[in-house]
Symmetry: C2
Subunit: 332 residues, 2 copies
């Protein structure tokens, strides 16, 4: 059987079978594992805190092409994607290892630019790159791993309950708008153009927002990297619940609305790489959290009792449609 | 300028320039960095311990080939290489993330076998695989990252002083002997054959030994992965010192000696992948450490005042020759 036949999720099931269940309270060398495969990061408890670890990889020809992706943008985004995973747990990002798989004909200047982008993002979030590995590879790839810490109980994808309110920590779709401008060689008005392109090229993970809502008592969160509906469906699958979203409650930046009056909402619902937070909590906790964040953070809907993984989108017209996405499969 | 022109070490210098120096006592989000790029692992201090992180990657066609490397062996060795980096610091390995870059035509059974090998090694050292990433890639690669912990001050490569004694924690060259048997389709006598092949296919990092010598006060160590003389030269370069090694003091297993009477010593001096520990300490500390380990751990020489990075090999005949290796460059 080939990986292309079982797909990414089939392969994960096979490997989870090999690993076996985490026995309750077990861990490594006496350090209790609190969260293994399946959330934004892994998590384990030490005597002083909960530690978090995540990793993300980009491969040339699959996730980027040398001709069209500026190296510094690629570096920023790879760091941002990892930082965002820590933010989704309500944690603080700390130290990062970088692995470079490089063809021998790689330009040193390109790798320097890649590193400059990674470091620019790292400095913004007070992350240090502290090591890694450099190997020769016929295909270029870059793997980043990042450790973080949470002083209490990290936010999870798997604990949403029917009746919880669902919220996002900021404007959605801006990155998709910037991508559209670039791909189609369009130009919006100068202000919108600069804002949207920057949103796509330099997305800013919501670390502070994650800390604030976690402190406010929010227990359920993930980051929005593949698109709101897609990621909410994943969160619902992990929790065994459904959700309803009111499309007119989804925060869309006025500049995205101005540049794409017809498509802005679709971008906000389905566009990827915004790297902000999607979270759920009972009404009293949610009102504290939303107050701490302030606008544009907004309640957009609520958790329902299912079917598991299904998101129902409510239009202002009264129309409703069900969305059930299993996420992007790298192999299918 | 191409990576193949500057080489791995040239590229590392360029990137170190981009990263800049670690300001004394600085760190990430208030957690003090104690060791960045250049040792077996990165290290940073928390309120309760020193945390360690390392990563290692293998690429198809560069580090292994599907036809000749059994998948389970590959998995064991990749885990062992990472565990050994933690052992070299005197730390305890804890949690691991695994990234798989897979062509679509990869056999699921092969990846299952790879995982079984990784898990076999992980269980032996009480490490948990807690997450990772699976991506499509034209070239297969596997990246493993591993976090560990040290309750005090990790052992470093960079603090050896002239006059320190140099020791190793076990028999050297056995893995190289096993590799030779496999590559040349030879067979030694049954006992030696089984021992040497296992030494190559299932190397066992010296975690307990690392803990013991670190507790005994040893401050300088690294793991032997590229060969004794090569790795000792690296340790000397990092410390700005030289070393002398008495070839007749290097521990060689009787079964390696029996299978390769003429080449055993050369394998012990230059063979790779034994994954035991090379360490240095003043005589009083060293005698405590060697006593704790017991044979076959042995003192093999001493640190000299230079030239930096040069290892002088002393033969029983009284002959001496200088060895100065800069390590394997992946791009040159």
């Amino acid at each position: 059987m080939l990986v292309s036949e079982v797909g990414e999720f089939g392969l994960i099931e096979v490997l989870a079978g090999v690993i076996g269940p985490d026995p309750e309270g077990a861990g490594a060398n006496g350090f209790r594992l609190t969260l293994g495969i399946g959330d934004d990061t892994a998590a384990w408890e030490t005597s002083w805190a909960t530690e978090l670890a995540t990793t993300d990889t980009v491969v040339e020809g699959v996730h980027f092409t040398r001709d069209t992706t500026p190296w510094a943008d690629l570096g920023w985004k790879l760091m941002a994607a990892n930082v965002s995973d820590i933010a989704a747990m309500g944690g603080l990002p700390l130290y990062s290892l970088v692995t470079l798989g490089l063809p021998a004909d790689t330009q040193v200047e390109d790798i320097r630019a890649l590193y400059e982008g990674m470091l620019e993002a790292a400095r913004k979030y007070d992350v240090s790159i502290v090591g890694g590995d450099i190997v020769r590879s016929p295909t270029m790839f870059i793997t980043l791993s990042l450790n973080g810490v949470h002083s209490g109980k990290p936010m999870l994808r798997s604990t949403a309950q029917p009746g919880y309110q669902v919220a996002v920590s900021g404007y959605l779709g801006s990155s998709a708008g910037g991508l559209r401008l670039m791909l189609e060689g369009m130009e919006a008005d100068a202000e919108a153009d600069a804002f949207l392109r920057r949103a796509h090229r330099r997305p800013e993970p919501h670390v502070q927002q994650g800390l604030l809502i976690s402190q406010a008592g929010v227990g359920v969160a993930m980051d929005v990297s593949d698109g709101l509906l897609d990621d909410l469906s994943k969160l619902c699958t992990a929790s065994g619940v459904g959700a309803e979203v009111r499309s007119d409650a989804v925060p869309v930046h006025p500049l995205l609305q101005r540049a794409f009056p017809h498509d802005a909402l679709d971008m906000a619902l389905n566009g990827g790489e915004d790297y902000l937070l999607l979270f759920a909590a009972p009404a009293d906790v949610m009102s504290r959290a939303i107050e701490k964040l302030g606008p544009p953070a907004a309640i957009i809907g609520e958790i329902t009792d299912g079917p598991a993984g299904t998101v129902r989108l409510l239009e202002p017209s009264g129309e409703a449609r069900d969305v059930n996405v299993r996420g992007w499969d790298h192999f299918k």
